[in-house]
Amino acid sequence: MTRIDQTFARLKAEGRGGLVTFITAGDPDYETSLSMLKGLPAAGADIVELGMPFSDPMADGPAIQASSLRALKAGQNMKKTLSMVREFRKENQATPIVLMGYYNPIYVYGVDRFVTDASEAGADGLIIVDMPPEEDEELRPAAAGKGLNFIRLATPTTDARRLPAVLANTSGFVYYVSIAGITGTAAPDISSVGAHVARIKAHTDLPIAIGFGVKTPEQVRELAALAEGVVVGSALVASIAETLDENGQATAETKPKLLGLVEYLSEALHQLAEPRRSRAAAA
């Protein structure tokens, strides 16, 4: 059982959905980002997604684009991202870290070197946005060989023909992208998400986390009723952006504001920590 499997087993026992939080490694700078990362579990994050910044994040909206560029400008690179994971793991053995990003920085770092270093640092899974099943053979088996979960994305356009291929070889959880679009733009339409998630559940026993466009506690609560986890990203990195000074530097507000927002969103999940019929039925 990986740390991710254990986390979803615990959430099931607690009878609630998990909060998956996304921040970009190194945004707005290494130290602040590391300190926020370390604070996320206590603030209510059940799983941490850590973005590996990329200059050309094609699937991301303005908030995450800006966050990625802030990190790069502050000198973030793959080595530093992995070192953040290592530092986090020294203090926390329970909370899974999923590295999320685009393939090129991994390709240039070297696939074997990357999966070795990521696994040794204490990462638990990978989400590579621009690597559909058709292209992931060059990374997925290597990642699996080091015990890293390879989490694939299913989207509103993933039709019945493709779904089995997407779910095959996915491990840890399935990331359901709740809108046809980029991160942080449109709000998900709950009823259509429900139908899609039900279709995925008919094909897999893996937990499902729903993300893209989730901002409010209401959305978190509604989506958590449909799946095992809810991902919040753009709203969090936007809250980081709001606290920066005119030079883009972190202020005393940066960390408390981010962690406060995580606490606020996670309360929505703890309020409904009772077994729900939809979950029981699905399981």
Partner: protein
């Protein structure tokens, strides 16, 4: 389906069924786009096999665009350089002023066949944007063009043309505000509007099937050149030269000749301030490393952390940090020789051609011409050299005036 092992016998067999040219190419896109790209591939394969589709395209090429474009003997330039016999393939005479229309007519026909009702595109120099806006107007489809804010500034005449043609021009301010950023934003638009939108990519890059499809539509350049040269000289050319941005005009000229081993082929990249100047050029093959961007693996300008560099070229149309994957493969196999010339050399060639031939070339083919200046004098006078004059320079006169400190 062809596999890459055939490459031992042919250089024209790619890509394989997964869209790979050896190490390069592929479909590195978000899952949201994957079903669309598969749809597009099916639709394109069907269209390709449909004689009516080709007939319609031939007719548009002939009567709307003005093909075939002439193969012109550049007599005074030949005399001046004193070597190879230089011909220009005059794709700058096409409707809208460049080779970009060849591809746009093909893709808009495909869009209509697929029932798509909205067109989007990226553009650098604005030549592709103008060609897209033109075919969208011709077929009555709404159209949005993504163009970097920096490029909007240096290619104003084309921005105005697109607007006149009814296109909405969306300035892109992310990143460096040039072609790569415009392509990012076009891809973002596509992901969000998959149900009704067709994305007309302007060069032989992007995810499979774009590199092969754009190449096929542009290959009309090389096919005509073959026939025209046979008629004029009774034999094939000895040397081909074309500029490389994403590589579509070059691939269009080169592809029909790849298996004629006696034909020497040169692709000319934008050397900007010089290949040795860090981030000062846009020569992805001469000065880059393989990586993955915009849906394919190819040579890229990037740093050692895999972050994409912005690059630089005087020519907005060549200012792209990547290159079509088939070129990357042709580079590694050694079939095509890739070189770079600087901004300064391109500007000199621009002026030379204008004065000697009475043809104002775009800054993009001025790069090809700058290399012809170096190459032709070393070749014997019976060497038949074809340079792709892929665009006219009207759009560039303001920028050139500024660089030469001339009053307009």
């Amino acid at each position: 389906m062809t596999t890459m092992t055939d490459a031992l016998n042919t250089y024209r067999g790619g890509p394989d069924e997964h869209g790979h040219f050896g190490l390069f190419g592929g479909r590195y896109v978000a899952e949201t786009l994957m079903p669309l790209i598969l749809d597009l591939e099916r639709a394109y394969n069907e269209a390709k096999a449909d004689p009516e589709f080709q007939a319609e395209l031939d007719s548009l090429n002939a009567h709307y665009s003005g093909r075939p474009s002439p193969l012109y003997f550049a007599e005074r330039l030949t005399e001046h350089l004193g070597g190879a016999k230089i011909y220009f393939k005059r794709d700058e005479l096409n409707h809208t002023g460049s080779h970009k229309i060849n591809n746009c007519l093909g893709q808009i026909q495909l869009a209509r066949r697929m029932g798509k009702t909205r067109i989007i595109a990226e553009t650098g120099a604005g030549q592709h944007g103008v060609a897209v806006a033109t075919v969208a107007a011709r077929f009555g489809l709404p159209c949005e063009i993504y163009m970097g804010a920096t490029d909007i500034e240096r290619q104003k005449p084309n921005v105005f043309r697109m607007k006149l043609l009814g296109a909405k021009v969306n300035p892109v301010t992310s990143g460096s505000g040039t072609l790569k950023d415009a392509m990012n934003d076009a891809l973002r638009d596509w992901v969000a509007n998959v149900h009704d939108t067709f994305y007309i990519i302007g060069t032989v890059a992007g995810p499979h099937p774009y590199p092969a499809m754009v190449r096929d539509f542009q290959s009309v350049i090389g096919k005509e050149t073959r026939a025209q040269m046979m008629e004029r000289e009774g034999r094939l050319p000895d040397t081909l030269v074309a500029c490389i941005g994403g590589g579509s005009n070059a691939m269009g000229l080169f592809h029909p000749f790849l298996d004629d081993r006696a034909v020497s082929i040169y692709g000319v990249e934008a050397g900007g301030y010089g290949i040795d100047v860090p981030n000062g050029h846009a020569a992805s093959m001469t000065g880059g490393e393989p990586g993955v961007l915009h849906g394919n693996r190819t040579y890229l300008l990037q740093n050692d952390d895999g972050q994409i560099l912005e690059g630089h070229s005087i020519s907005a149309g060549l200012d792209y940090p990547g290159v079509g994957p088939e070129h990357s493969w042709l580079k590694d196999t050694g079939r095509v020789t890739y070189v770079a010339v600087t901004d300064k050399e391109a500007l000199e060639a621009f002026q030379l051609c204008t004065r000697l031939e009475g043809i104002i070339p775009a800054l993009e083919p001025s790069h090809a011409l700058a290399y012809v200046r170096k190459l032709a004098p070393e070749l014997p006078s019976d060497n038949l050299l074809v340079m792709n004059m892929c665009g006219r320079g009207d759009k560039d006169i303001f920028a050139v005036a500024e660089h030469l400190s001339m009053e307009m």
